[in-house]
Amino acid sequence: MTEAANYFLDPDSARAVIIGLLYLAGAIGFVLSLKWMSDAKTARKGIFAGEIGFALAVVGTLLMPGITSTGYILIAVALLIGAAIGVPLGLLVPMTAMPQRIALSHAFGALAAGLVGIVEYFHGQPEIGGFVMAVLGVEIVLGCLVFTGSLMAAGKLQEILPQRPFVYPGQIFVNFAVLGVAIGFIVALVVNPALTWAIPIIIVCGLVFGVFLIIPIGGADMPTVIALLNSYAGISAALLGFVLSNNLLIVAGALDGMSGLILAIVMCRAMNRSFSNVLFGAFGQLDESAGEEGEMGSIRSASYDEAGEILKNSRLVVIVPGYGMAVAQAQHKVRELADTLEKEGVEVKYAIHPVAGRMPGHMNVLLAEANVPYDALIDMEDINPEFPQVDVVLVLGANDVVNPSARHMKSSPIYGMPILDVDKAACVMVVKRSMRPGFAGVENELFFNEKTLMVFGDAKDVMGELITEVAGNRDSINV
């Protein structure tokens, strides 16, 4: 017990007051950073507030009693190693790899939270109260689950692992059984905190559950799942705060948990699906027959020449980007085409569906990287009423988010999903590599619409061709 006394922070001591105030300032920094995030103009100030908050939190923590002098050296070394890895990870990762980068980063955070929980258990047992033990158990399971889950998600996004969902009969049952075992052992630990051997079991359950959770998730559901993992990571940090009697961890964890939850809700609403449907529904495997309803009519394809001519002669063009644009890395070419068109006096806007891409806001980041001004990026609700006035819609690597069968075909897996009403425009051009159906495995009736022109080819190449067509025509007129 003499050892424990060293770690005791007397709540009335000056040291405790200083630490408390530093943590309070840190928490205020975090809240301000999120508040300033609500506007693109103040967002960078928000990062600064977050960084200050973090620095104060670290300073406060270093004042904690019981840290040895070797401890300080070890901390310095670990911080330097972490920073040495973190800086290139922050600066060198290309924007197209952002979803997997974020997933990977969730894995690191969860690993840290899980490890701290494990150490705290072994340090504190067997004198751990029921509430703390329950919190600690859940925290360890969550940390492990987010660790492997995020690694799986990153693997799928990086296409190291197959993107298609993997489902088998009884999958939900197996998943819940794993979770049930973990909960069972947490209960056992609450009853008897000295059951040290139960900890490895809940660790393994958490790790396995994380893998099982992501196996049935397909690429298009990744935005929701990444947001959910973000939320879990926050909750595990908050739980750790209860274990360590640390309010700052609770505040930061609660903010993070809420953020992830809100993003996940936005994503689910944008697909008209529930959480459980995303997690256990295995989109894409659902109804393969829905796409095989035979002939839906004929398609019309356009040459680059024709397409360029139509684009050049329109007044308002709306570009609808999708994951295909990210895959083809076509965002810079898209902006070049938009610039060329604007030189011809054509107005260009971008219609952004909330679930386009592989993470919330994916398309916005890619287009911002290509120097597209953010006021040209229009959300679905704001652009939909405008489509009847639009001359040409250029659909680029998007598919399910513009499929009109979501409105009326009840048998379709995407039925009820809010879509971009591109079919209301005067002309729709779809740039596509082939007639392969989209992620949901559904045939897109938009392609068979009489207003639709298919332009076949790789998104980046097609953009290049269209730029030369639009710019080239101008030259011939000038000469």
Binding site: M37, T61, G82, A113, N230, N371
Partner: protein, 111 residues
């Protein structure tokens, strides 16, 4: 690790209020900035660095120190990388008027 009952109650207060505050604040973040928001909260979730630092610094045992070391490295990667990447992303978000000028300058430089 004796957490007093009064802290549990205070902690629940803090959790509930921070949760509501977070909900109301983050709800106002436009979809445009959802990816940077995610990167930022990702950096914030590495707040478990605070716990990791204590575990490492106190050297409870060899095992604890090793795990603590890994935890500090992992969460530092998250914090440093998270803030840098959020900033890198936000620097790209520019309104129309700001883009026109540099773009024009670039075109001149190129020609």
């Amino acid at each position: 690790m004796n957490v007093s009952t009064s802290f549990i109650i205070t902690g629940l207060f803090v959790f509930a209020l921070a949760g509501f505050l977070g909900f109301e604040t983050i709800r106002r973040v436009p979809r445009l900035l959802h990816t940077p928001l995610m990167a930022l909260t990702n950096a914030l979730s590495a707040i478990s660095l605070v716990g990791s630092l204590v575990v490492l610094g106190r050297e409870y045992s060899t095992y604890a120190t090793i795990l603590g070391f890994i935890a500090v490295v992992a969460s530092t990667i998250n914090v440093v990388g998270g803030f840098l990447i959020t900033d890198k992303m936000l620097r790209m978000f520019k309104p129309r008027e700001k883009i026109k000028k540099p773009a024009a300058a670039e075109a001149e430089a190129a020609s």
